[in-house]
């Protein structure tokens, strides 16, 4: 087993593995969807559901979930500091990756993604439940936030000007070039289209296979390395609101083992609305 695939085995689990651990008391399965109603349509038996739009953020100011709120959320889900948390969701785990990133910010040791997410579970015609689990509440203690995996605007501005970090825009190419202001069918959430000057476009989906699972480490190395993103420089990934870039952050940090990778969760809804910010258009 290579170092990379060994790393992957600690953060990725298959649908088979999850099916075998549905009743494992050391494992808590959590669904986090883009569509916050998907959980109610039927979820993995025993899985808890989190709403990214209300539960995984600060609802007053734009920010990630505050520490105390996270402790309460995890406690109510029956998650202890030594629990293996398995996250999965729709859209190939976009918001599951977002939750993964936040749990890592707060220092949870054992977090994993179910490879392929909700889509693969459904495609395999596995069991769904409408029941809401009632876990025994725990007293979860989070660590202070580790912002070494999070990029804020000033750092992105410096990276854009000085080229000291690889900026990876993981949105679709029409969003990157400025042809559209939001993914087709979704509301426009920025004033200007285009990308952060100096960023390169590697859409998140290129890291996945058709069934939603991640590509092999070799294929991923070729994909990112081929664009010059080799992990020899810090990397900052961004998208529109930070969830797709959490997915790419996960790939670069955990599947490829790059040391210095950050998710810029302000993303295009920050940069593309910023008065005076430089914007680059085209490919």
């Amino acid at each position: 087993m290579t170092a990379e695939s060994k790393a992957a085995s600690t953060v990725l689990v298959s649908t088979d593995w999850v099916a075998q651990h549905l009743d494992d008391p050391k494992v808590r399965i959590v669904e986090v969807d883009v569509d916050t109603r998907a959980y109610d349509e039927g979820h993995l038996p025993g899985a808890v559901g989190w709403d990214w739009s209300t539960q995984l953020c600060d609802t007053l100011r734009r920010d990630i979930i505050p520490k105390e709120k996270l402790e309460k959320l995890l406690g109510l889900a029956g998650i202890g500091n030594d629990t293996t948390v398995v996250l999965y969701g729709d859209n190939n785990n976009w918001f599951a990756a977002w939750a993964f990133w936040q749990l890592k910010i707060y220092g949870h040791k054992d977090v994993r993604l179910m490879d392929g997410g909700r889509k693969k579970w459904l495609a395999e015609e596995r069991e769904l439940s409408a029941d809401l689990p009632k876990p025994k509440e725990t007293a979860y203690k989070a660590a202070e936030p580790d912002n070494s995996i999070r990029a804020f605007l000033p750092e992105v501005q410096v990276a854009s000007e000085k080229k000291g970090a690889d900026l990876v825009d993981v949105r679709s190419t029409p969003e990157f070039t400025g042809e559209i202001l939001a993914p087709p069918g979704l509301p426009e959430t920025c004033q200007r289209g285009g990308h952060v000057p100096g960023a390169q476009n590697i859409p998140w989906a290129q890291a996945c296979k058709e069934d939603g699972t991640f590509k092999s480490v070799e294929e991923l190395k070729k994909l990112y390395g081929g664009k010059g993103v080799q992990g020899d420089k810090p990397v900052i990934a961004y998208c529109r609101i930070g969830e797709r870039s959490s997915h790419t952050w996960f790939v670069l940090k955990y599947l490829l083992g790059y040391k210095n990778v950050k998710n810029y969760d302000g993303s295009w809804t920050e940069w593309g609305n910023l008065v005076g910010a430089q914007v680059e258009k085209g490919a």
Binding site: V34, D35, R37, A38, E41, G42, P45, D90, N91, N92, W94, K119, W121, L122, A123, E124, E125, R126, E127, L128, S129, A130, D131, R171, S172, T173, P174, E175, T177, G178, E179, I180, L181, A182, P183, P184, G185, L186, E188, G193, P203, W204, A205, R244, K281
Partner: protein, 75 residues
């Protein structure tokens, strides 16, 4: 426990209002669930449910077309 199996999972491709999309459907219990996703970046646009696949899919296509037609191409 109220548990059902997901059945008849299917993904097909189409073009609605000029945008390539993926139409995903499956059956859970007596309900057919259909969602329409943009091909790029792969986000869901609408979801519907109905007693038959045809009914749920027709509704999903109609709603998706309405939403997709509002997307502007700037260049």
């Amino acid at each position: 426990m109220t548990a059902v199996k997901a059945e008849n999972y299917r993904e097909t491709e189409a073009v609605l209002a000029g945008w390539p999309v993926k139409i995903v459907s499956y059956k859970a219990g007596a309900v057919y669930r259909v969602s329409v996703h943009n091909k790029e970046p792969g986000a869901w646009i609408v979801k519907t449910a109905g007693p038959t696949l045809e009914e749920a899919e027709a509704q999903a296509r109609k709603l998706a077309e309405e939403r997709l037609s509002k997307t502007r191409r700037l260049s």
